[in-house]
Amino acid sequence: MTCFTAQHSLKGGFPVNFLQTLLVRSIYAIILLLAVLVLNFSMMHLAPGDVADTIAQANGGADAEVLEAIRTEYGLDQPFLVQLGRYIGNVMQLNLGYSFYYREPVTELILQRLPATLLLVFSAQILALLLGVLLGVISAQKPNGITSHFVTFIALFGYSAPVFWTGILLLIGFSLQFQWFPVAGMRDVTIEGGFFVKTWDVIVHLILPMITLASVFLALYSRLTRATMLEQLRTDYVRTAYAKGMPHRKVVYQHALKNALSPVITLAGLQFSAVISGAVLVEAVFSWPGLGTLAFTSIIARDTPTILGILFFSALVVIIGNLLTDLAQKLVDPRIGGIE
């Protein structure tokens, strides 16, 4: 303990604080993950019917003995607590098990899909943030001007329209009327070419789903930026800066914006899980081969190991996203985390 404090005062807060935070966070995370798994396992179990029915569905029917064989094979005929115990035991050994539906290791299934979702979620989040902040700043400068109202309209439209509707609308507009973007998927496998051609292909496929997903969060970020910017622009230091003769641009973007960003970043961190769940719908509309489509089909298929595996990974992504948010906040606001 003494050693700790010594180090603390010596190196100035950040590393120890950060490591401590990380440790505490990890413990919370593990408890949270277990709770998520147990709760969802129980809920899945409560629902009538099971994966044997959906396997029969995929087959166009199945004889009774086949259904029974499936249930025996997956241990679905065992008492609930036995099933739960087995599952948690495996997870403790970092084994997420096999998908009932696809018969593939869950970890493998998820890792195949994770990159696509990360690409979509991060690009949409970044687009929403950049554009949201920009629009927020613009509208804050003339809060009652036409631009401001226009920004409000666009933002609220994106926020209130269901994503699958926005998605289909964009598809009809930009894939059918103007055939600028492809309809579905992440790549065109018929395209031949090198790295750049293929990367460009992915980007072209990414644009519509990214805009669709970003449209929901654009509203939040632009409205919040607008509000905090309005607040900042009324503060004394801004008035002082103007009084000193600092150019308008510099006042807004260098001084006021920097202080206005902190709550926006907090919100972005909080919204991270919402972006991931939003991705489920967007992926379904655009057949984006990510975790969202997998989650969707697995829930429909009652594929318990896969659903729990996805929840496990999503929770991890959210936890990491929140950590990144904290770091980003420290960057824009030195008061956070580093104060003795």
């Binding site: 029915d53 029969a56 569905q57 995929a58 087959n59 998927g185 379904a284």
Partner: protein, 523 residues
């Protein structure tokens, strides 16, 4: 008379096909066909997995002994000829000599024997090969199926996706029952079909390429098939329209079908699904309450207007169906329908002992298993209101929830869709057989039991004379239509969509896309 007429029609159809083929389009070789699967693929090995999604890639990767033309006539495929013994207990398949698997190993009768064993142990449809006791292999190219009883359903069961011949040297490395979980069901899949697997990305695509050593010379015509997995029907529709997809099958949403019919570049057809045989119907639980009375069931059939369903809900895309057998099947015997007649319905309900009391005769529930059929269910509720039957609509959170209710008989009425899967023995008997009551979803969930129906099905299952067999099924269908354990309303309107300018000879036989498309080409 009808029969002769049908044969005549068939002959003319055949002649015209031959005629058009000879002068119109010479099939072109090469090219990549971009097509689509409407849901994710669970398993590419069609010897252990059924269903229309596996059927498409499965029938390209694996060949089966027979294939069927659009007139339900068996054609040679892996078997260049076949004969059934006089007593119907021996079926001999003479295999083509030049068939090879994708890894270069020759296909022999041992693989046929092995495949039958695997299918018997793993395939969800036990009735297909249950009577097959052993498969003898007197030489490398002769497989002799020994049957416990005559089994005419075997013919259709040897075609389409139902009897995929898989290589013993690949899939025979473990227990027979383990083949359903074999690692090579989804990667490095080896069959003897016209196309071999390049890549299967779960949730994204299946890519196949031409197998150069395919046993039919000069086929397949296509170099490559890309099957994209697009689960959203609206997104698929846009992709057909903007040309991203050349072809797709099993489209069933009336709104989308009608929209695509209006697109100049596309052909949209309901042809080619006879053996898949998808039927929509109103199921009635005959085991409890008022519905155990046949008069009540008939009254309901009279009160529910098929015409309305066909026009308003199916928007003209579906065809009429009056029995448990698909109208395109050679075994179909059309029955007199229950044309809308509210007076007769009321009369039957009175007779059955359900007079109107306090404005109502009885209360029933109606279930549905997927959101697409909610309109039908809401309509039934409204229609039965007119004959003073109160109907409560019960929705299920998802398919398994509904399946559980059906499988345990926890329902009065329900909307349902069931497939014929070729021969009636495979997909029709299960709904009416009294030994198959409440054995899970799509069993005899109506708990229907009629000794004569059981007897007719048992006789038809072993009747080798085609004419007699059809007569047995005709009587069977008449009884079913009369006793209405299910009220048959319409076919599920599966449609194939293809780009008219680009796709030549799309698969419109009897098996939809669950058939080799070695003759399909790009113009």
């Amino acid at each position: 008379m009808r029969h002769i007429f049908k044969d005549l029609m068939a002959a003319t159809a055949l002649a015209s096909i031959v005629a058009t083929a000879s002068y119109a389009d010479e099939p072109k070789k090469g090219g990549t066909l971009v097509t689509v699967l409407g849901s994710n693929v669970r398993n590419l090995n069609s010897a252990v997995q059924s269903g229309i999604v596996t059927g498409f890639p499965g029938a390209q990767l694996f060949a089966s002994p027979l294939r069927y033309d659009e007139n339900w006539e068996p054609q040679p495929y892996l078997a260049e000829s076949w004969e059934t013994s006089e007593d119907g207990l021996t079926v001999t398949l003479n295999l083509v000599k030049n068939a090879k698997f994708h890894d270069g190993t020759p296909l022999t009768s041992t693989d046929v024997a092995f495949s039958v064993e695997v299918i018997k142990a793993n395939h969800p449809f036990k009735s297909m090969f249950a009577p097959v006791e052993t498969v003898e292999t007197p030489d490398a190219h002769t497989a002799v199926l020994k049957l416990a009883k005559p089994h005419p359903a075997l013919m259709l069961a040897m075609s389409g996706q139902l009897m995929s011949i898989i290589p013993k040297h690949i899939y025979g490395d473990g227990e027979i029952t383990d083949v359903k979980a074999h690692p090579r069901n989804n990667e490095n899949v080896v069959g003897s079909g016209p196309f071999k697997l390049v890549e299967f990305k779960n949730g994204e695509h299946v890519i196949l390429e031409r197998f150069d050593d395919f046993f039919i010379d000069g086929r397949p015509y296509l170099d490559k098939i890309v099957m994209r997995i697009i689960t959203d029907p609206a997104a698929r529709a846009i992709a057909y329209e903007n040309g991203e997809l050349h072809m797709g099958a099993f489209e069933s949403l009336p709104r989308i079908i009608n929209r695509l019919k209006g697109v100049d570049s596309l052909t949209v057809t309901a042809d080619g699904y006879g053996a898949i045989g998808p039927l929509d119907w109103l199921a009635m639980n005959t085991s409890k309450g008022p519905l155990s009375n046949v008069k009540v069931r008939k009254a309901i059939a009279y009160a529910v207007d098929k015409n309305f369903i066909s026009k308003a809900i199916m928007q003209g895309t579906a065809s009429d169906s009056t029995t448990g057998i698909h109208p395109d099947s050679p075994f179909y015997a059309a029955q007199d329908g229950y044309d809308l007649d509210l007076e007769k319905a009321a009369e039957l309900l009175d007779e059955a002992g359900f007079p109107v009391k306090d404005g109502t005769r009885m209360s029933l529930t109606i279930d549905f298993g997927w959101p697409g059929v909610k309109p039908q269910v809401e309509y039934v509720k409204a229609a039965l209101k007119k004959v003073d039957i109160n109907v409560e609509v019960r929705s299920s959170a998802d398919f398994p929830t509904w399946a559980k209710k059906m499988g345990t008989g926890d329902f009065d009425l329900s909307w349902d869709t069931v497939f014929n899967w070729g021969d009636p023995v495979i997909g029709v008997h299960r709904t009416y057989d009294s030994s198959n009551i409440l054995k899970g979803v799509w069993s005899n969930t109506q708990s229907y039991s009629n000794a004569r129906v059981d007897e007719l099905m048992a006789m038809a299952a072993v009747e080798t004379d085609d004419v007699k067999r059809k007569a047995l099924y005709a009587e069977f269908q008449a009884i079913i239509a009369d006793e209405v354990p299910v009220y048959h309303t319409n076919t599920l309107p599966y449609h194939t969509v293809y780009n008219t300018e680009k796709v030549g000879n799309p698969p419109i036989g009897i098996w939809g896309t669950s058939t080799p498309i070695d003759m399909t080409y790009l113009k």
